[in-house]
């Protein structure tokens, strides 16, 4: 390990280089890839993911005393904003553009061991290393940098859609509900100090926040499962998604974000964070509607206007809008299946045909969709035909069941090409 004292002017130059170096590199490399939109979009996603996760992991490192930054310029909760952004550019798009075929772990290992291992403790007062700093560096690379480079690569190649969407959702979650509130509190005052807040308020707020997150995450899942794309228009869906929570409202992700900001603002007692909900509306009014007109209307000239005419933007319908009836096949000989079908029948599900078919497993099939849903996933999908509350419950189930099946390599089967019953 090298342990030297760098002159103050060298540290200033280093700080400039840590931001301007990656920036210059990404501009040059981005220009080289300008005719490969998926590569550029992958780089952008990697940057956004890294931007969120570097902040989160550095907050953990600072709180644990692994290291701290000595400067007082451009600081956001103890992290210099320029070094933060430079890191997100370097260990995201730059690495992905420079080394498109080398496995990210082989790219990052020499940097962790060679660069950080050698010079990290020589950068005082730019960064002051504490105990266990090396473990902290490894954590930052594992949680922030490694997934960021994978995200760029998978997006460029159009691979691993489920993982891509999961990383985008994770990155967005930290960006929207940790980085943005932190920035707002930096500008307007306030802190994350939950110890000063009433316990009952936190306990009451967390389930509401969880319900908001279910709404948003379910929308992302529906984009992946039914649209075969991500929620980001730069990596769009192949099909118009009108099912699940989208049968109740057009903008579930934006509503989820707006409500989450309000709940977080109430929990931490900061009106300005709650006020960020207005930004969600501003975003919809300014950007999303534009996207709807210039992308969705062009790509789905028949489906989009009909969907939009029947489904509200913000306030969810209580009962879903279902353009084509789905079918739930159940075995009347199986007690629990018959009981569930009876329960559903009593609730008069919208656009759901219940078909008794002896000997069949429980299968849900939507004629406009690319796949069938079985067992717990079929129950969850069927709940989406009852009302908004049950749809949220079904969405929560799907958020657990489908990723587990994906991890086990047991994705729902493709349609068999014939009616279920």
């Amino acid at each position: 390990m090298i342990d030297i004292d760098l002159p103050r002017e060298w540290l200033w130059a280093l700080r400039w280089a840590l931001f301007l170096g990656p920036l210059a590199a990404v501009l040059v490399l981005g220009a080289r890839h300008r005719h490969e939109p998926r590569v550029v979009v992958g780089g952008l996603f990697a940057f956004l993911y890294g931007f969120a996760m570097i902040f989160a992991t550095h907050q953990l490192a600072i709180a644990a005393g692994w290291w701290r930054y000595g400067s007082e310029v451009l600081m956001v909760m103890g992290l210099p904003a320029d070094i933060w952004i430079g890191g997100a550019i370097l260990f995201g798009p730059v690495m992905a553009f420079l080394f498109p075929t080398i496995r990210p772990v082989y790219l990052l290992l020499p940097i962790i061991i060679g660069l950080h291992g050698m010079v990290f403790s020589s950068l005082d007062p730019l960064v002051i290393a504490g105990p266990f700093w090396f473990a902290g560096v490894v954590l930052v690379f594992l949680v922030a940098h490694l997934p960021a480079i994978h995200l760029a690569r998978w997006t460029a190649r159009g691979e691993h859609l489920a993982w891509r969407a999961a990383l985008l959702a994770l990155g967005y979650g930290f960006l929207a509900f940790y980085v943005l509130p932190s920035e707002i509190m930096l500008a307007m005052g306030g802190s994350w100090n939950l110890a000063a807040r009433p316990l009952w308020l936190i306990l009451a707020g967390l389930p509401v926040l969880a319900a908001c997150f279910v709404l948003g995450l379910s929308a992302v899942q529906m984009f992946v499962v039914h649209g075969e794309g991500t929620p980001i228009p730069l990596d769009p869906t192949k099909r118009l998604v009108r099912t699940g929570v989208f049968a109740y409202l057009v903008n579930p992700m934006q509503l989820s974000s707006a409500l989450s900001w309000i709940v977080i603002g109430v929990i931490i007692g900061n009106v300005w964070v709650a006020f960020a909900a207005v930004m969600a509306w501003v975003f919809v009014a300014g950007m999303v509607r534009w996207h709807h007109r210039h992308d969705l209307l062009q790509r789905f000239p028949e489906g989009w206007p009909t969907y939009r005419a029947n489904v509200p933007e913000w306030l969810p319908r209580w009962r879903p809008w279902v353009p084509e009836a789905a079918r739930l096949a159940f075995d009347p000989g199986q007690k629990w299946q018959a009981a569930f079908a009876g329960w559903l029948q009593r609730r008069d599900p919208v656009g759901l045909i219940l078909a008794a078919k002896p000997g069949t497993p429980l299968i849900y099939r939507d004629p406009s969709e690319a796949r069938d849903f079985t067992a717990a996933a079929a129950i969850a999908k069927a709940l989406g035909h009852v009302n908004f509350a049950f749809a949220l419950l079904g969405a929560a189930v799907l958020l657990v069941v489908l990723p587990l099946r994906h991890l086990r390599g047991q994705d729902a089967p493709a349609p068999m090409g014939e009616p279920v019953a």
Binding site: F19, D82, L180, E183, A285, G286
Partner: protein
């Protein structure tokens, strides 16, 4: 296709260049007095937004009129970030407002008012 008029582009470039120059002078005089803070903040708060402005000015024409107006709004916001350092964080957080203003301009402003303004800035 829609693009910013050359005169508008030149005016924007002039404003941003003046802002960069003013910030450079301020930074040098602060440094001469022994305060390195502005030097350290310069890349992120001046060079970065100036590069973004350059990129936005160099982009090819847009397919929609709103796209070109959103680009113009973003450039103005970035210019303000350079010119008004005490408000830079607020302006950055308020960037989505640019898109709302453009949307309201396109959908709510009466056509007799809107069209002359658009003709003045877009080619």
């Amino acid at each position: 296709m829609f693009r910013l008029r050359r005169s508008i582009k030149l005016a924007l470039a002039l404003v941003v260049s003046s802002g960069v120059l003013a910030r450079l002078v301020t930074m040098v005089s602060a440094l001469a007095e022994g305060d390195p803070d502005q030097l350290l903040a310069f890349p992120l708060t001046v060079i970065f937004p100036a590069i973004l402005v350059g990129l936005l000015l160099a982009l090819p024409a847009t397919r929609s009129r709103e796209g070109a107006l959103m680009r113009l709004g973003t450039i103005i916001q970035l210019a303000l970030i350079i010119l008004l350092p005490p408000l830079a964080l607020y302006l950055a957080l308020g960037l989505p407002v640019v898109f709302l203003v453009v949307e309201l301009f396109e959908t709510r402003l009466p056509q007799p008012l809107r069209d002359p303004i658009v003709r003045a800035v877009l080619a």
